[in-house]
C-alpha cells in the first residue's frame, strides 16, 4: 500500500455505487466479453478481456465494500489489498485498451456495462495521478487554453474567417439570444473546419439563428476521457456559463459522441442542477430539420458509401435511425458494412485512446477490424464517419493499412447535398 493506492482505492470505493457493485457481483467469468472487444480480437492477448480490465476496482470493492466483506476478511478469505504496483500494471489496460465502446455489454449474459465502469475506475486513477502522459498533457492544455489541442480563440477566428469566405455566409460569434449555440471538438476545428461552413449553410437554409461562443467553443471533454470528475466539471461549466450568459435556447453538441455524453448526461449531474437550455446532438437536429422540411435534400452523392457507427452516438447514444435517414436522402449508393448498427466496431480510438500516443500501436491493431469490415464492401468509394475523433482515427488507420478511401463527415455531406434552389425555401 502506498499513498497513491490509498487515494485510488478510496475513489474506487466512492464510485462503486449499487450499479457498479451489481456488475462486480454478477460477473460469472464466462469470457464472452472477450469475443466482443476489438483489442482482444485483434491481438489475441487474454489480458484485454473486458472484465479483466476492472480487476483492481473489483478487488477493492470485494475487500472493503461488498456484502460479507468483513466476514470474509475475518476469515482471511477477502482479496488482498490493491497495491500501487498492480494499479500501474493495469494502467495501460484501463487507458490504452478500452475505447468505452460498450460492445462487450451486448454479448455479456449479465449485461454488464464495462465501459461505464471503466469510466468510474479512471476516477481512481486520475485522482492518484496514475495516467498516461499523453492524456496528462491534454489535461494541462485544457487548463491553460480550454482545448486539449491548445486551440486558442485566435486559431478559431481564423478558421471561421476561411469558412465565411468559402461559403459566403456570415458566422456570428457571441450573438446574444441566438436559438442555438454550437460547440465543436478540437479535431473538427483543426482538421475539418468545413463543418463550420456546413453548419452555416444548413442553418441559413433552415432559417434558425445560431452562434459560437468565443470563450466556450470546445466540446471535447478531456476530463471525461482521463476520468477526472473535477476537470470534467470545469469544462462543462465553461460551456454552460457561456450558453446561459448568451441566453441561447439550445446547445448543439458536435458529432463527437463523448462530448455529447459529457454535456447531455453527465453535465447536469456534475453541476448539480439542470440547465436553462437544451442540449441537442447535431444529427438529431439535422434529422428533425429534415423531417420538418426545412433542409430538403437535393441531388444525391452517387459514390458507393457506407456508414461507420460511432459508439457514443449509435450504441450508447440511441441515434440509430437518424443518420441512416439522412444518408438515404443524401447518397444513391449506400451499403451497410457487415455488423453495422448497434453491434458495429469502434474505430479503435474512442475513450481517449486516440489522445494517448502510447496506445498508437494498439489503436492501429484494433483498426484492423474496421479494415476487415470496409474490405467486405465491394467497390467502396467513401465512408461516412459522423464523429470528428473517429474521422481522425480513420485517416490514420487507412494510412497505416494503405487503403484509399474517402472519409466524410455527415454534416458536410448533408450540407453538400442540400437542395439550394431558393423557390423551395420557406
Amino acid at each position: 500500500m502506498s499513498a497513491n493506492s490509498d487515494i485510488a482505492v478510496a475513489k474506487f470505493l466512492e464510485h462503486t455505487d449499487a450499479e457498479a457493485a451489481s456488475f462486480f457481483e454478477a460477473c460469472v467469468h464466462c469470457g464472452e466479453c472477450a469475443e466482443a472487444c476489438q483489442f482482444y480480437l485483434s491481438t489475441g492477448d487474454p489480458k484485454y478481456t473486458p472484465t479483466y480490465k476492472l480487476r483492481p476496482m473489483e478487488r477493492a470493492y470485494k475487500r472493503d465494500k461488498a456484502p460479507f466483506s468483513s466476514l470474509k476478511k475475518m476469515l482471511g478469505l477477502a482479496p488482498s489489498p490493491v497495491t500501487e504496483e498492480e494499479l500501474r500494471e493495469w494502467e495501460p489496460l484501463v487507458y490504452d485498451s478500452c475505447n468505452m465502446c460498450a460492445r462487450c455489454t451486448l454479448v455479456c449474459p449479465m449485461g454488464i456495462d464495462i465501459a461505464g465502469t471503466i469510466r468510474k475506475m479512471r476516477e481512481g486513477y486520475a485522482a492518484a495521478g496514475i495516467v498516461p502522459e499523453g492524456l496528462q498533457r491534454a489535461a494541462e492544455f485544457v487548463k491553460k487554453t480550454s482545448s486539449p489541442m491548445g486551440i486558442t480563440i485566435k486559431a478559431l477566428t481564423a478558421q471561421i474567417k476561411h469558412q465565411e469566405e468559402a461559403t459566403g455566409i456570415k458566422i456570428e460569434v457571441d450573438k446574444q439570444g441566438a436559438d442555438y449555440m454550437a460547440i465543436f471538438s478540437s479535431m473538427e476545428i483543426m482538421g475539418y473546419p468545413e463543418v463550420l461552413g456546413a453548419y452555416a449553410k444548413l442553418f441559413k437554409k433552415a432559417g434558425l439563428t445560431w452562434t459560437i461562443s468565443s470563450v466556450a467553443y470546445e466540446a471535447t471533454n478531456t476530463g471525461v476521457q482521463i476520468g477526472s470528475g473535477p476537470l470534467a466539471k470545469e469544462i462543462v461549466t465553461r460551456v454552460v456559463d457561456a450558453a446561459e450568459a448568451l441566453e441561447v435556447k439550445h446547445v448543439i453538441s458536435p458529432e463527437c459522441g463523448h462530448a455529447y455524453g459529457a454535456i447531455r448526461w453527465a453535465g447536469p449531474n456534475m453541476m448539480g442542477r439542470q440547465f436553462k437550455f437544451e442540449v441537442v446532438h447535431i444529427i438529431e437536429l439535422l434529422d428533425q430539420l429534415r423531417r420538418e422540411g426545412r433542409i430538403p435534400a437535393g441531388g444525391k452523392d452517387t459514390r458507393r458509401m457506407t456508414l461507420h457507427d460511432p459508439c457514443q452516438i449509435i450504441r450508447r447514444g440511441g441515434l440509430l435511425k437518424e443518420p441512416r435517414r439522412l444518408l438515404d436522402e443524401s447518397c444513391s449508393d449506400f451499403v451497410e458494412m457487415k455488423g453495422a448498427g448497434i453491434t458495429n466496431y469502434c474505430c479503435g480510438g474512442g475513450g481517449g485512446v486516440s489522445a494517448n500516443p502510447r496506445a498508437e500501436e494498439l489503436k492501429t491493431a484494433a483498426f484492423s477490424r474496421k479494415v476487415e469490415q470496409l474490405n467486405g464492401v465491394k467497390d467502396l468509394e467513401a465512408v461516412v464517419v459522423p464523429c470528428g475523433n473517429c474521422r481522425a482515427v480513420f485517416e490514420d488507420g487507412l494510412d497505416a493499412y494503405d487503403m484509399d478511401l474517402e472519409v466524410i463527415g455527415l454534416s458536410e455531406l448533408v450540407a453538400e447535398t442540400l437542395d439550394e434552389s431558393p423557390e423551395k425555401q420557406g
Binding site: T16, D17, A18, E19, A21, S22, F23, E25, A26, C27, V28, H29, C30, G31, E32, A34, E35, A36, Y40, P46, K47, T49, T51, Y52, K65, A66, P67, F68, K72, T105, L106, V107, C108, P109, M110, G111, I112, D113, G116, R264, W265, A266, G267, P268, N269, G272, R273, Q274, E278, I314, R315, R316, G317, G318, L320, G339, I342, T343
Partner: protein, 214 residues
C-alpha cells in the same frame, strides 16, 4: 438419528436458512449501496429499461452467437436441464412435497429425467473444460469458479449415483452435498443466479433513461 435423517432434517433446515438469509442479505446489501439520483433530463423510461434489459440479454445476438455458439449451447443446455431436473424429477417432487411445500408439480417420466440429466452433465462438463482450456478463461477464472462448478457437479453426480434408490447411504451423500452447496451458495459466485437481474437491470435502466440502444 441416522445419517440420512440428519442430512435431510436438521442439516437441511440449517443449510436452507443460511441459503435464504445469506442470499437475501447479499442482494439487499448490493441494492442498499445506492445510486446517485440522475438529474439530467431523461429521454426514456428507466423502469422500462430495467425490464427490457433483463429480457434482452436472454437472447444472444446473431453476430456474436456464431463465434460463441458452443458456449451458448452448453450454457443454456446446462441451466435449463438443471432447472428441469431440480423441479420436475420424481424424487425431487416427492422431497419438495414432503419437506417444503405441498405443491403439485408435474412429474417427468423417468426417461425425461434421464435425458435432462445427460444434457445437464454434458453442458456442465463442456463449460468447465472450456474454463480450463482457453487462455482467456484461465486468466479470469478463480477458485470460486472452480469450487462452484465442482460442487454443483458433485451434487449432480451423487444424485445420479443414487438413481437405483437401493442404498440409503447414496441418498444421504447426495443430500449432504446439497446441504454443502446451499451453504456455499450465498457467499460465492453461484449468487449470479440472483444478481443477474440487478446487473442487467441496472444497465438496462441507464440505457433506457438515455434512450440508448439495448
Amino acid at each position: 438419528m441416522s445419517f440420512v435423517e440428519f442430512v435431510e432434517g436438521p442439516l437441511f433446515i440449517l443449510a436452507s436458512a443460511i441459503f435464504v438469509l445469506g442470499a437475501l442479505w447479499r442482494v439487499i446489501g448490493i441494492i442498499r449501496i445506492g445510486r446517485k439520483k440522475d438529474i439530467s433530463p431523461p429521454k426514456g423510461s428507466a423502469v422500462m429499461g430495467f425490464v427490457v434489459g433483463n429480457l434482452r440479454h436472454f437472447f444472444p445476438r446473431g453476430i456474436f452467437a456464431r463465434r460463441t455458439a458452443l458456449h451458448i449451447i452448453a450454457g443454456y443446455g446446462f441451466h435449463l436441464a438443471l432447472l428441469v431436473l431440480v423441479l420436475f424429477a420424481a424424487p425431487h417432487i416427492a422431497f419438495i412435497q414432503d419437506r417444503l411445500i405441498n405443491v403439485n408439480l408435474p412429474e417427468m417420466p423417468r426417461w425425461g429425467f434421464i435425458v435432462a440429466a445427460e444434457i445437464a452433465f454434458a453442458g456442465l462438463i463442456m463449460l468447465w473444460v472450456r474454463r480450463i482450456s482457453d487462455p482467456v478463461m484461465r486468466l479470469i477464472s478463480d477458485w470460486d469458479d472452480h469450487i462452484g462448478t465442482w460442487l454443483t457437479f458433485l451434487v449432480m453426480l451423487s444424485g445420479c449415483f443414487a438413481l437405483q434408490e437401493s442404498q440409503s447411504f447414496l441418498r444421504g451423500l447426495h443430500m449432504l452435498l446439497v446441504d454443502v452447496w446451499l451453504i456455499y451458495f450465498p457467499f460465492s459466485r453461484l449468487m449470479h443466479a440472483f444478481t443477474f437481474f440487478l446487473s442487467r437491470g441496472n444497465t438496462g435502466a441507464t440505457y433506457g433513461r438515455k434512450g440508448m440502444n439495448l
